[in-house]
Structures are given as structure tokens and as C-alpha cells.
Amino acid sequence: MSTSLYGVIALVETAIGLLLVARLAIGPTISDRIVALNTLSTQATLAVLFFAAFADRAIYLDVALWLASFSYLGAIVWARYLERGLL
């Protein structure tokens, strides 16, 4: 497996994330921004995973794992704030 393919995939995931940054900027309500941020964190997780395979550094995998677990915690906390008005 050529490692440059991993780098291409990481770049494409980052470019997809830029579309989500546009929604994050123009989202009319706060919920739109939360949805965009949630999806953006998934794309960032994938990009970090493929960049770890591209750069051949297994330590970056833990960054991706952390990102995948804590971004959803953040989304659930935001949802709770929207629903009840307190954190």
C-alpha cells in the first residue's frame, strides 16, 4: 500500500471539512452550528487517522480516539444546554 494514497484521503477529508466550516459560519441558529461542528469533528477524526497512516506515526491515533470520544460528549452537553437552559 503506497502511503501517498493515505495523504490524499486525509486531504480530501479536510476539504470536505471546509464545506462544514461554511455551514458553521452561516448557520442561522445555534443548533445548525452544533450539527456542523459535530460532523466536522467526525471528519477531523478520519483526517487524523489517515494522516497517522500517511506519516507512519502511531502516536497520532490516540489523538483521533480522543477527538472521537470527546466531541460527542460536547454535542450531548450542548443539547442539554439547549433543552434545559443549564449545563
Binding site: 441558529t29 459535530n38 497512516a53 460527542y72
Partner: protein
């Protein structure tokens, strides 16, 4: 052979991620955007992670982390989407103009009508 499987899985994942991102950008409504967001995870992220597992081999350190991330996304993403949609509905985010039906409002009106029909009977029975 391994390269072909890797390329097919990765392009499926990238295509679904791209379509989900375009959907989040173009959909008229928050609830449609939430639906696009969960499609991005289930059909976009999972094939890409399986592609990483295929490319690096099942016994590498990449494969274990990728499968762990896949299980995490599968478990937590529906819960987060559901919590977000529910919180947005309760916070009063409007639906799209062309939305066909709102079952929560219909159910509440049915319950209200049922209580209104029952209340005179109860009052008469007690009195």
C-alpha cells in the same frame, strides 16, 4: 487485490462524506441537516475506517484504533443526533415551510381533545 479493495472502500466513504457535507450545506431545515449528519457517519466514516483496516492489515496498531473509533462512532452518534434533534425541537427551532406533518403537535392535540371530551363526564359523576 488489497489495493483495489482499499480504493473502493475509501471512495465509497469519501463520496458519502462529501454528499453529507453538501447536504448539511444545502438542506433547508435543521432536522434535514441532522439526518444528513448521521448519514455522514454511518455510510461515510465506517467504510473509510474499514478501508484503513484493510490497508494496514488487521494485526497492526492502526487497525485496533480504527475499529475502536468505528464502534465508538456507531454507538454514540445516534444518541447525540437524537439528543440534538429533541433539544432543538423543544427550543422551538422552526421546521421547513414545506414540511408535511408534525406528529408531536398532532399527538398533543389528540390528547387535549380527549381530555376535553372526558372532563364533563367526570365532573357530572362526582357532582
Amino acid at each position: 487485490m488489497k489495493t483495489i479493495i482499499f480504493i473502493v472502500l475509501a471512495s465509497i466513504g469519501l463520496a458519502f462524506s462529501l454528499s453529507g457535507a453538501v447536504g448539511i450545506l444545502r438542506m433547508p431545515d435543521l432536522y434535514s441537516r441532522i439526518q444528513c449528519s448521521s448519514k455522514t457517519v454511518t455510510m461515510g466514516a465506517l467504510p473509510a475506517l474499514v478501508a484503513l483496516v484493510v490497508g494496514e492489515g488487521i494485526d497492526s496498531s492502526y487497525a485496533s484504533r480504527a475499529l475502536l473509533v468505528a464502534v465508538l462512532l456507531l454507538v454514540v452518534n445516534p444518541a447525540a443526533s437524537h439528543a440534538l434533534a429533541r433539544a432543538a425541537y423543544k427550543a422551538g427551532v422552526p421546521m421547513w415551510q414545506g414540511a408535511v406533518r408534525d406528529e408531536v403537535v398532532e399527538r398533543k392535540e389528540q390528547q387535549k381533545a380527549k381530555e376535553r371530551a372526558r372532563r364533563p363526564d367526570d365532573g357530572g359523576g362526582e357532582g
